[in-house]
Symmetry: C4
Subunit: 213 residues, 4 copies
């Protein structure tokens, strides 16, 4: 598949950004143990980090490029052993859900301990709620006095089996910019990579405050 | 508006410093999610970080330059999308309060979790108090045995609406070098950027000790 | 002892990797105070970090090279004082146990506080158990619903005296990829350095979740 | 005062090391808010970081050089404002105590929260004690089963007034490589900068474990 010059430039920038940001996320404990992931829309295409690789050591050539329906257009070049052959993220259908249902420009998945603990404050709760914190204003459509509600869905044995629940939660909570997965982590998106990252940071902070309170 | 050579040199140095320091503050969790901010007086002018941008990824060209009454003299050049057009910080009148009422040389605003938790130790307290800690000596005018008192004001829906309360607190607590904002964060200033940063670090440490005790 | 060109290339890469990874482990608090260690199999040889040195400041020339029976083939060059003469890790027989009994490709030893606290949750427990956490899937042969069990052995005055207990634990828990040592830390291995590091990160995360719950 | 070539080389190396190590200590929260400090013996001279400066932003030219009786031989060159004129550390007589009474090769002072909390576990205790932890072996003369005891002295309004108490504690606890100061921090030394740093890391870890237990 041949990309246009504009598509090449846009996907190259997105590939570089994903590597750079995942390095930062690793230092924050969000993507250790090859967990978590990130995807950015570039022009009309989608750039996505592979599954099961060390997220803080990725290079741009490791990234997949998909069309906007989620079909793989460009496979990354395999690295020599002991690196495993590149594998599209199990999160792929989950990332696609945010692109399709919310018109997102970027999606992130974090295994942050703060997110996991937020799902265990009340192990049977189906929502995480927080209010009256300045950082709530970092979540689109939310003010300081608003209830910031994030749906919590139950985890499944395989990540791809989460898709239906995640899609349902996204539809049921139109104001939320994230979905928590019990004992697993969180999916966060935004109109742009900047908003996705900002909202991921704000949510993580809110999860942490609630846990410390 | 044309700056003198001295003003250009001084503001350039301040712009560079704000970028460098905000990067460090980000790693400490003070300015995540585009929150927090910083301003430094340079010659007779004021350099101020913009609002709603990723504080750890700013470049000198992103900074505003204001005169000492707080009027914008130089607007930063807009970056291409997905970056938003530059916007003067909502904190601007709050930063100006410290410049005007205290003759500050620099002002910082942090969303540090330690600061927020310090306002929740007693959710109705109007003061945070700590004593008998070596790090108190890092706060101007304070010795080891002194009570180090920081006023706590209630948060508002919009940051600019905090101005009156903040000004009142600054006047009522002439020994304090900081004002805490409930469920929001802290404003800290100093005669120079070095003192502002030093005091911000000392206060944050004091907030953390009190929380761990 | 003369290495082949292939062996030289493989051991050089392993030496470089150990230095790089130990620097990262230091920032995570796993190898402070000269504690912890790492070893990687390279071609048919074994590269091993020395004992009692600052793990975050090692250079490739500090590494030992052993044959697959654990005999030293290449001693590192001594650095001038105040550096101490190079000493093979006391962990050496422990690392060899994972190579021999599990066919490991790399072994790590961490003094992480999370690991130590995991052995103190119940100070008389001989196993650490965790289940229903996504990060369990990062441990070879484990799914989300599996019990992830790590044997805990008692510590001894000298590290080399741990060997029998460690070998016994490795044999008794064929599914485990790690052995905890009470009030000491953890040994983790994997088929490759990537898997060893990934599993070390996953285990550490699991230890931390259990402690926070 | 003219240094010999050997003295110049040795002090230059020590100056560089202090800057490098203090940067690392800052990231660990040991020397924030201009607190803490470090000194290294170089040849027959003593290199010492100045007081009241940002420890993570020091350059070699900021260092004092003293003779082995503690007299200043070389004053650092003053930096232009807003930097303050260089001032010898208030810790100077405290550092000298470890050089004189223990023949130390390096001394460190940290305001680590772990150290402060260790003095507050029992606010009237005059000793911190820990045993049965592998990291105790990082403290000279201590084995795994030994009691690792660190004397705790009460803080004073001015750092220099601590000298008598510190000297007394050093003499009364000949096995200890550190002295804790209540609500202040810890002094740690060693035969070389490597041992001083190693022991500082081990003690800090031991303080943290005790607090988490």
């Amino acid at each position: 598949m041949q990309l246009t010059d504009e598509q090449t430039a846009a996907t190259d920038e997105a590939k570089q950004l994903i590597c750079e940001l995942c390095h930062t996320f690793y230092l924050q404990g969000w993507v250790g143990g090859t967990g978590g992931g990130m995807s950015i829309k570039a022009d009309s295409l989608i750039v996505m980090a592979p599954s099961g690789v060390q997220k803080e050591r990725m290079i741009p050539a490791d990234m997949f490029v998909l069309d906007k329906e989620g079909n793989v257009l460009i496979d990354p070049i395999a690295r020599p052993g002991p690196y495993k052959p590149p594998k599209l993220s199990e999160c792929s259908p989950l990332f696609m859900a945010a692109y399709e249902l919310r018109g997102a420009g970027a999606v992130m998945h974090s295994h942050s301990l703060n997110a996991v603990m937020a799902t265990l404050l009340d192990p049977s709760a189906t929502e995480f709620t927080v209010t009256n914190l300045e950082m709530i204003k970092g979540i689109a459509g939310h003010g300081y006095y608003d209830n910031c509600i994030v749906p919590i869905i139950e985890n499944t044995a395989r990540e791809c089996e989460l898709t239906d629940r995640l899609r349902q939660a996204i539809k049921s909570y139109p104001k939320s910019q994230a979905v928590l997965v019990r004992r697993h982590g969180v999916y966060v998106w935004g109109n742009t990579w900047i908003q996705a990252k900002t909202q991921a940071e704000c949510y993580d902070y809110l999860f942490e405050v609630q846990q410390s309170s």
